[in-house]
């Protein structure tokens, strides 16, 4: 299975806020991820087709993205270039388009795939729990370490189940653990680049509303401690 054909989470869906452009990367490919006002999420190469300026420093106009440099705009969905301010009254060539990647929203996250059409290789986008979405998505944590090292550390340390059963590496990028306090936790790696990973994590069951913030803080602290250990030693 090629990594390029696999779906990876790139951000929590609610962090693709209106009129904002999320700057992230997948397998070394920089991405500009943005939500149009109609709710559509776009994942584009972070590079303006005109002169290569990063689209993530541009402006999300609600139905199109405007490049910072010469103001060319690109339509949500198609990526088609709509305007070139230096050429008023002249329609941009059909061929000028932002480079788009496969992008779907599922289980509270935006999932991106760099190559392929249709169902593609590997698991469907999502945490693979069938129809039950996770109860609570946690803060995503950025780690300066390769995805394999991070997944391995999570599988060895994130478990702490009451019966001592270790966390389970579902596949090289997904870890499932049963935690004494939190219950089932799902971790999905975003391989940002060779030495850079973002851990996206979710609790299977939502805690009571009154405990939500406390649970978010507790789980954030747990993953940050693991991140610090991974970064300090190379492998905790």
């Amino acid at each position: 299975m090629s990594r390029e054909r696999r779906w990876f989470p790139v951000c929590r869906g609610e962090e693709a806020v209106p009129r904002h452009i999320v700057h992230t990367a997948l397998l070394g490919q920089e991405l500009a991820v943005w939500r149009a006002d109609d709710g559509t999420v776009n994942a584009w190469e972070n590079r303006c087709p005109h002169r290569g300026v990063r689209l993530s420093v541009g402006t999300n106009l609600g139905d199109r993205l405007k490049c910072r440099y010469h103001g060319w705009t690109y339509a949500s969905g198609s990526g088609q270039c709509l305007e070139r301010p230096a050429h008023p009254g002249e329609a941009p060539p059909r061929i000028v388009k932002a480079r788009r990647f496969g992008c779907v929203e599922s289980d509270g996250y935006v999932w991106v795939r760099l190559a392929g059409e249709g169902a593609g290789d590997g698991p469907a986008p999502g945490f693979g729990r069938g129809t039950a979405p996770p109860g609570l998505t946690l803060r995503s944590i950025h780690v300066w370490a390769p995805a394999a090292a991070v997944a391995d550390a999570l599988a060895r340390h994130a478990g702490e189940a009451p019966d001592g059963s270790p966390a389970e590496a579902v596949d090289p990028y997904t870890v499932r653990s049963a935690h004494a306090e939190a219950g089932e936790i799902l971790y999905a790696m975003q391989p940002v680049a060779d030495d850079e990973t973002i851990i996206h994590a979710a609790l299977a069951e939502a805690p009571p509303a009154s405990e939500r913030i406390a649970v978010l803080r507790r789980e954030n602290g747990r993953v940050c401690a693991l991140r610090d250990a991974i970064e300090a030693s190379g492998s905790p």
């Binding site: 962090e15 009129r19 904002h20 700057h23 910072r68 803060r139 913030i213 978010l216 954030n220 940050c224």
Partner: protein, 209 residues
């Protein structure tokens, strides 16, 4: 009349211009030639500020140095609505003081990456990472949890304070010094919000949202 001793590429000077603009105040600028003249180390300037640093502010016969101190003074004196520095709100004042001190910390790391005696230079990426990562991680985490509690700014009130202005410039400029903000998505959402405050003015290197 308010007079600001100012250097165009200094984030600490820019945050004062930003507050002056947001408060709708008029001021007079005395530009300091950092490079190559090193005017901030000249005898006459050291007479104004023995630390040899910009910005320095004069308001009539009152003179003040230190960007964070100047923000406090200007907001306390000239903000009629009392929002940028809410004098009657001890908790918010405490929070603001905490973030003003933090702003000094990011100045020492992120801006060291950016400015060296007024000259841009390439900083070793690992050093920039190591130095700037720690405070940026603290800031990103704080802002993420603020969002979870329905808050858009560094401190509790439902509007920005001088804490946001104090921390903004060096965060926004950090990419010039090779410190990527890709790992800090909550910081990127917050810098977008700062850029949309009515009356926001950009500085060289800070893009308007």
């Amino acid at each position: 009349m308010i007079r600001l001793y100012d250097y165009v590429l200094s984030g600490n000077c820019y945050k004062i211009r930003l507050l002056l603009s947001l408060l709708g105040l008029e001021w007079e600028t005395r530009w300091i030639d950092f490079h190559p003249k090193r005017e901030h180390k000249s005898e006459w300037f050291l007479g104004l500020n023995p630390l040899g640093q910009v910005p320095v502010l004069e308001d009539g016969d009152f003179r003040l140095r230190d960007a964070q101190a100047i923000l406090v003074y200007l907001a306390a004196k000239h903000d009629e609505r009392g929002r940028w520095y809410p004098a009657g709100d001890p908790r918010t004042l405490g929070e603001i003081a905490q973030w003003l001190a933090f702003a000094d910390g990011i100045t020492a790391t992120a801006s060291a990456a950016r400015l060296h005696d007024g000259i841009f230079f390439e900083l070793d990426a690992d050093r920039a990472r190591a130095g700037a990562n720690a405070p940026f991680r603290v800031l990103d985490e704080h802002l993420w949890f603020q969002e979870q509690e329905g808050r858009e700014w560094l401190c509790a009130p439902g509007h920005p304070t001088i804490a946001d202005l104090a921390c903004f410039p060096y965060v926004a400029l950090s990419e010039e010094g090779g410190v990527s903000r890709l790992p800090y998505p909550a910081i990127r959402r917050w810098t977008d919000r700062v850029k949309r405050i009515p009356g926001f003015i950009p500085m060289s290197g800070v893009l308007v949202a």
